[in-house]
């Protein structure tokens, strides 16, 4: 997951409340509270603070996210990022300096019960 320039931005001095949904990518550097359900990438910048359940294709966290997260692709918690909530995704990466407080539920085929 790369940090590329995204379509949408919520700037650092903005406070947005409500339900966000659609097909675009979005970078949140301000404050968001509500729900997010997009078919794109959500990036939370270092100053960003999101209090919302998030459903997205992929989620990159450099700021703070409080809420459960469901990604069809993957979740990345980058250095400085904090996720407080459960994660449900196909891939997850928590980098050195990232923080996760919650459960991870990953969908993969159980390669069989661990055999003693």
């Amino acid at each position: 997951m790369t940090s590329r320039r995204l379509d949408g931005t919520i700037g650092p001095d903005l406070v947005v409340q409500g339900t966000l949904d659609g097909k675009s990518d979005l970078r949140i550097e301000g404050v968001f509270e509500g729900e997010i359900d997009v078919e794109g990438t959500i990036q939370i910048g270092p100053e960003g603070s999101v209090t919302a359940p998030v459903r997205a294709a992929s989620i990159e966290i450099e700021g703070e996210l409080r809420g459960d997260v469901t990604a069809t692709d993957g979740v990345a918690i980058l250095p400085g990022g904090r996720l407080i909530g459960d994660v449900r995704a196909r891939r997850i990466a928590v980098e050195d300096g990232g923080a996760l407080q919650g459960g991870i539920e990953m969908d993969f085929d159980d390669p069989g019960a661990v055999r003693a």
Binding site: G11, Q17, G18, L26
Partner: protein, 255 residues
């Protein structure tokens, strides 16, 4: 950059409120109030359903809600506005669809060219103008002699005055005097009354003392870039501070 421009991209819908600082461009849909201390632009595909308060507003898409701006509102041809709009200046470009009450709360801004036109006769060969603005273009309709020092008056019948070519050449060398003359002529001659007459009162100031001309010229500068009044030394006649290329009389040397 101090404050960043935020973007709600096309394809995104927000049902909720936005508030804060900085500029915001909406190409998606926002249903809810927006309160911004920056410039809000609603792009052609953008939809805002809700009341908007911003520093400045440019609508190119759909705005359904009341809008109020601190500096100005501009509604462009691709825009549809349904709601009341209130701002010191509201600019609605031809083609825009607007339904609602529009209130402009600010002072009318008279453009420089109109202001100039109202005050001076248009010189044929544009002489250098004393203190303020760019030279007038020839062929402008003859100006209305505004009452002295009034700047933004309601328009008198400017339409009735085609530029008279005949009097202009004789006016040109005395353009400086004439320019100031209409403003101090006590009975303001309505130029629509008779065009030849205007040359008559305007030729008179050539007979007047240079000092009054100077005084009039100073009056024009008032409010614009004021000059300090010339010193009132009893033994010294008033100096004419002319630009070199316009002096018709040699300035008197100080005593």
């Amino acid at each position: 950059m101090s404050v960043k421009t935020s973007v709600i991209p096309e394809g995104l819908t927000l049902v909720g409120s936005i508030e804060g600082k900085g500029d915001l461009v909406i190409a998606g849909t926002v249903e809810g109030p927006i309160e911004l201390s920056g410039e809000l632009v609603i792009e052609p595909g953008g939809v805002v359903r809700g009341d908007v308060r911003a520093e400045g507003l440019v609508v190119r898409g759909l705005l359904a809600g009341d809008a109020s701006a601190k500096s100005g509102v501009r509604v462009e041809p691709t825009a549809t506005v349904i709601g009341d709009v209130s701002a010191p200046r509201v600019n609605i470009v031809d083609g825009a669809k607007v339904r609602g009450r529009v209130s402009m709360t600010g002072e009318p801004i008279v453009p420089k060219s109109v202001r100039r036109r109202r005050r001076q006769p248009p010189p044929e060969e544009a002489p250098v103008i004393a203190d303020d603005h760019a030279p007038t273009t020839p062929g402008m309709p003859a100006p209305v002699p505004a009452t002295p020092r009034k700047r933004q008056r309601t328009r008198p019948s400017r339409e009735a005055k085609p530029p008279p070519p005949a009097p202009e050449p004789q006016r040109a060398p005395e353009a400086i005097r004439e320019r100031s003359e209409p403003r101090t002529a006590a009975p303001v001659p309505e130029q629509s009354a008779s065009v030849p007459e205007q040359s008559a009162p305007q030729n008179e100031p050539s007979a007047e003392e240079p000092g009054s001309r100077r005084r009039r010229k100073r009056r024009r500068g008032r409010g614009r870039g004021r000059r300090p009044p010339p010193p009132n030394i009893p033994t010294v006649p008033r100096q004419k501070a002319r630009r070199k290329d316009r002096s018709t009389e040699a300035p008197e040397p100080p005593a």
